[in-house]
Point group: C2
Chain length 403, copies 2
């Protein structure tokens, strides 16, 4: 069974549509005959896809001299991507960084910019900074947002399936961001946790591209993760699926703010790693590690083992194709991955191990913003590449319906 | 957002169709006006559903004196379930028991029968026993299998997404069962692991009914499980999702046949529990437990704690609505569930814990056979209750596409 016949859960990149768009992206303009050839599709299949894409304004059809094609008896025409067919805006309002990224109908990033911010920056201020960044970026690159189809935005902390923060006292964060963006742009706004959005982006365009089920782990100041199943973010009942940082590695360990005990995050967050190695800055830690410092090696070895043990439990539960490891700690490379893989090998079921691939994350600072773009691309009827679905919300709307 | 608008992943029981069928099941025969009222649907919605159900031969329409209704200008007619509209056969070829269950188009069990068998019974012999049981059952209850839509069958051990056993040397088991049943009945045959099928049945008709994401754990001679997400069995890359029995509870524990170390199964299988308590038979163990025997209490307490610790890791990964606990060990009731819940509370993220329900399994020996029936009901165009899907395989076909 090929992935292309997998029904309503086909990934963006796996649709016939996406093959057509990819050909146009690569070649600029093509006749229908050329396009059928390039996309390796029958004329009949191509014809129905082209009709859909024209209806969605994702592509345009012109004669060789640039006139729009209408009606019957038409001359040979060429198809091109419609640059004005729609844009998606992705944002990441992170702990220490604000990122804004714009993608076009061809799923290409057309502009991206990030700025650092303090962890203590209030949410209203973060939003203002992000909006100013959008203004600056679109002005500088002469991008019109008149064809904006939607905004996908990542925030820190859990976001439940309704888009609200599960702690009533903190609802204001999600609501503030969503309402502020909706008011400013007048388009649909989708909010999710930024680590989860990074997971989605890695699964679609990054280290997990081409597989179905991806478990993503981010090793940073906090330790979080996300679960992408069948190409869609999976949230679970409380929006906390993939929160691997709060799996216990020491059952008699210290209490964690999450309510658990001995959580992985307490042992392998950047702060914990720095504390254990007596180093102030993470770049200094990496330098020592490279220089063969004994303490640094022991610390990263312990961290890798603990992470591998937690991943083994998670993989035995979900049996993913690929585990993607992101965040700053992943910069330790093989010195982290070696003990991590060893622990995974030791504690996974052979069925799970046999199908498992461990891959470092490949996207950069714009990972979560691109995840936001994926949410928009998936939902917008104007933007091509999202397979047609039955009426009703798409899977990320109904967050625990994995659709 | 109501569950009814959740798109193509609506559970069987949540469709409007299912409401119509439920009303007919309860009331026998109803006019369209009565049916719209009973099912609480608008006349327009009801009309399109009735049309579909008539087309699928799931229901029939007759005048008060029993004539089939055709064409326009028709008199007031009544709708009834079509008893000949299709049957689904479920089978469980278990370690120690063979079960055969037949359900009709209304998702009602019309016949069910099980027999014990030895663990050493060869697979060909098991199949023969199951087929003899089908013959006996259908003869005794005068059931015609001429309208059989499909067979769903559970087998022991892992079954990959293609329906084959992942160990090439054991492929024969799945192939033997599938080919034997296809030859005998001439209908589609769906094979999966029987614990996973029990998970599906519990999620649809049992302790997980009405929720989206169910983690099922079976505590028996072996310790296995299944993951039902959005109402569909989730398999993962190697068909091993939900194999909680092989999550490590003691990292320096003994090697397990699965390739792991210190697996839960080694500590809480029935055999392990009996060995730890120095008792020969499980009913004797339960008797001692009830009588307040110290050793038995300590053993079940340790087992509950270990199971809770493993479930905590699994729940932090998947964030299910409900964990269903099945298998013989669940007969220990609160003596098992009390320490299990305590460990779960202690080691889960607050977001996960807040939305989590622990429930004992409620289906009996026919759980896996009913899961097989669910596979058939979901796939057969003749049988009502399965929401229409896009062309292409249904989620359980493409086992790691959770559809």
């Amino acid at each position: 069974m090929t992935k292309e016949s997998a029904g309503p859960l086909r990934l963006l990149r796996e649709t016939h549509e996406e093959r057509v768009l990819a050909a146009l992206r690569a070649q600029g303009a093509l006749t229908r005959a050329q396009l059928a050839d390039q996309a390796n599709l029958s004329r009949a299949t191509l014809s129905s896809i082209v009709q859909d894409l024209l209806a969605k304004q994702a592509i345009t059809e012109t004669t060789a001299n640039g006139e729009a094609v209408r009606g019957r008896g038409r001359p040979v025409s060429v198809l091109t991507l419609n640059a004005a067919g729609g844009l998606a805006l992705g944002m990441d309002l992170g702990h220490r960084r604000i990122q804004v990224t714009v993608a076009n109908v061809a799923h290409e990033v057309v502009a991206s910019e990030g700025i650092a911010c303090s962890e203590r920056t209030p949410w209203g201020r973060r939003l203002d900074l992000a909006l100013a960044l959008v203004d600056e970026l679109t002005a500088r690159q002469e991008i019109s947002l008149s064809a904006l189809a939607g905004v996908g935005v990542g925030v820190v902390g859990p976001v439940s399936e309704t888009g609200d923060h599960p702690h009533p006292s903190r609802v204001s964060r999600t609501a503030l961001v969503r309402d502020g963006l909706a008011e400013r742009f007048g388009v649909p706004v989708y909010v999710d946790n930024n680590t989860r959005l990074a997971a989605l982006a890695e699964a679609i365009w990054g280290a997990g591209a081409g597989v179905q089920d991806v478990l993503y782990l981010r090793l940073s100041y906090g330790v979080g993760g996300g679960l992408v199943l069948g190409g869609h973010l999976f949230s679970g009942a409380g929006g906390a699926a993939g929160e691997l940082g709060h799996i216990s590695v020491d059952r008699s360990g210290p209490r964690c703010a999450c309510g658990g005990r001995g959580c992985l995050e307490r042992y392998v967050s950047l702060a914990a790693v720095l504390e254990q190695s007596g180093v102030r800055r993470f770049d200094e830690f990496l330098r020592r590690l490279d220089a063969g410092d004994e303490t640094a090696r022991r610390v990263i070895d312990d961290a890798g083992t603990r992470i591998g043990e937690v991943l083994a439990a998670a993989c035995n539960t979900v049996n993913p194709d690929t585990v993607v490891i992101g965040g700053e700690l992943a910069d330790a490379g093989d010195q982290l991955l070696r003990p991590l893989r060893a622990a995974l090998r030791q504690y996974t079921h052979s069925q799970v191990r046999r199908h498992l691939r461990i891959a470092p994350a490949v996207l950069g600072h714009d990972d979560a913003a691109r995840g936001g773009i994926a949410l928009v691309l998936r939902r917008s009827a104007l933007l091509a590449g999202y397979p047609a679905t039955a009426p009703g919300p798409s899977p990320e709307d109904q967050a625990h319906d994995i659709g």
